[in-house]
């Protein structure tokens, strides 16, 4: 019962904090416009990429952010404690929205991406089927019963909390660190060079190929290439085949361009040194200790 009270309190706090944030954000909008807008060019799929560049904490040291996210994630899973999960959820939301300057609606829309998977996955844990009316709560569905119990429901809610906390930790990282920096952190962690170079090139190439694809698609569309299902299938095949050829050609031209700038088999990029502030490390350490203490006192 004690535990439930604590959870309720935490939930209330979170709700208040969220509301306050919404109002604050609205106020901010009235005065000045978005300072960090880069421009929506590629549609919804790249929102996360765009947020990462626009984040106000993108100047933080990337290694620090990645390590913080991973440590949090591990603690979240290993400690398996709803209070820890809630604390993580709140702190990560604070980091992304207040420190990072992401609006609440955008944060929620990013966080809601995995919701269907989570609900479907956890529902299977909470409910069971039987021919007899058993369990604390049951629902008569024709010839069988769906039943569940308070314990099961609690388990389900705690699991959802844990998953969301873990997701929020990783989102804190991806919403504030551009991919190139995450790759550079992996390079420092001695991930094989081949993988690092592939990641770099793939990341750059995604945008180029998408551009090429949208151009081809538009030109096919303007010639009635998608008028019915059959034609659409044909067109899709044609575009896909063409893409392969274009990407092979592009790869050649790319290699020429790299060679003309003295590329000799090793790809090293200039990275900006971003200092870690002592305050950040101390705050992160305190956060981890608090998580451990939370776990210790509520286990």
């Amino acid at each position: 019962m004690n535990e439930m009270m604590l959870l309720f309190l935490c939930g209330l706090l979170a709700a208040v904090f969220l509301l306050a944030e919404v109002r604050q954000h609205n106020h901010a909008h009235e005065g000045t416009h978005h300072r960090h807008k880069i421009g929506h060019k590629h549609g919804e799929g790249f929102v996360i990429d765009m947020h990462a560049y626009a984040s106000k904490i993108s100047h933080w040291n990337p290694s620090f952010k990645v390590i913080l996210a991973i440590v949090t994630l591990v603690l979240c899973i290993a400690l398996n404690n709803p209070c820890v999960s809630l604390a993580v959820l709140i702190v990560m939301a604070y980091l992304t929205m207040v420190k990072g300057g992401l609006s609440v609606s955008e944060y929620l829309s990013v966080m809601m991406i995995p919701i269907v998977f989570i609900l479907l996955g956890t529902l299977a844990i909470a409910i069971e089927f039987s021919y007899q009316p058993i369990g604390q709560y049951n629902l008569h569905c024709g010839f069988f019963y769906v039943y569940t119990s308070q314990d099961k429901l609690k388990e389900m809610i705690f699991l959802i909390l844990k998953v969301f906390a873990a997701v929020s930790a990783l989102q804190m990282m991806t919403l504030s660190t551009p991919s190139s920096e995450i790759i550079s952190v992996m390079r420092k962690a001695h991930v094989p060079t081949l993988i690092i170079e592939l990641m770099n090139i793939i990341y750059r190439y995604i945008f180029i190929l998408l551009d090429v694809y949208s151009k081809m698609k538009n030109s096919a569309d303007s010639r009635q290439g998608y008028c019915d299902f059959r034609t659409s299938c044909y067109t899709f095949g044609g575009v896909a085949g063409n893409m392969l050829i274009v990407s092979l050609k592009k790869a050649n031209v790319y290699y020429d361009a790299m060679e003309s700038r003295c590329y000799d088999g090793e790809m090293v990029f200039l990275e900006e040194e971003k200092k870690v502030a002592a305050g950040q490390i101390i705050a992160a350490a305190i956060f981890v200790v608090v998580l451990l203490m939370l776990w210790w006192f509520t286990k």
Binding site: P178, I208, V253, Y254, L270, E272
Partner: protein
């Protein structure tokens, strides 16, 4: 006479499908020259550039840079000193931030990191895009990407800069910006080669024009010489520059005295007209 900065002797290049790309090219380029390379599509301009840069390996012939013949061993020296700004910036930009992109060349030259950072800042300031530093190239516009691709080469401090059809796909404002950059570079005594289909631009800007046709150089001379040579123009599918055409018509109608003072830019032309009245 000064020694040419780059000499090309009897260069032959054959494409993978057996087609001749370059067919005996001979050329001397002097320091600080502003050269326009013109010729129809597929005449071998881009192939020539890639050969000169050592990216494509010629069948036959030699390339001499400042008196040393280029072999496999000192190829890097050649690439360091000749930079190419490619036609399509998207085919050149490789890194995922502008900083990393401009630093790619200097990093490959194995310069110390402080020097790389200095050069990147210099090149970005030169192109007036210092505030793009942390931006990813996929959120830049076409003109901005072009600027980045020029900064790439400026950061390498190449002595010869080759522009492969730079004015293609640029709006008038960006094309003007490009000409300003070219002006700035020529004040610094950089040697420049620009391939273009824009005869008006070539006439206005170049000191020397080289005409490619089917893998050969068919003409090499001052803009006036080239554009008054009907045969060369016809052979390479080119037209006379507008200003030259207008001037010659005026002379023909005896509205302007035939003083052989060919105006090269609109400004010069306007001055000439003003003196008439």
């Amino acid at each position: 006479m000064k020694q040419p900065i780059l000499s090309v002797r009897d260069l032959h290049y054959v494409y993978g499908n057996g087609q001749a790309g370059l067919d005996g090219v001979n050329l001397d380029i002097n320091e600080g020259e502003k050269i326009a390379v013109i010729g129809s599509n597929g005449a071998g301009k881009s192939t020539f550039f890639l050969n000169v840069n050592g990216v494509l390996k010629a069948e036959r012939g030699e390339i001499i840079y400042r008196g040393t013949t280029i072999t496999r061993k000192n190829l890097k020296e050649l690439r360091k000193n000749i930079g190419i700004v490619f036609q399509d910036a998207d085919n050149q930009i490789i890194a995922s931030t502008v900083r990393a992109e401009v630093g790619f060349g200097p990093m490959n030259l194995k310069l110390p990191k402080e020097e790389v950072i200095k050069r990147v800042d210099e090149a970005l300031t030169y192109m007036n895009i210092l505030d793009f530093k942390d931006r990813p190239p996929h959120y830049l516009s076409g003109g901005e990407k072009k600027k980045v691709s020029i900064a790439d080469i400026i950061a390498m401090k190449s002595e010869i800069i080759i522009f492969d059809e730079p004015t293609v796909a640029l709006d008038p404002l960006n094309a003007e910006m490009l000409e300003e950059v070219l002006e700035k570079l020529s004040r610094e005594e950089k040697t420049m080669l620009i391939s273009t289909h824009d005869v008006d631009f070539a006439y206005r800007w170049a000191e020397r024009i080289i005409v490619f046709c089917q893998g050969k150089i068919i003409a090499d001379g001052s803009p006036l010489e080239i554009f008054q040579n009907e045969e060369v123009l016809k052979q390479s599918n080119l037209k006379q520059p507008m200003l030259l055409n207008v001037y010659e018509s005026l002379v023909q109608k005896q509205l302007v005295a035939d003083e052989k003072k060919y105006p090269r830019s609109i400004e010069e032309f306007q001055k000439m007209i003003q003196q008439l009245s």
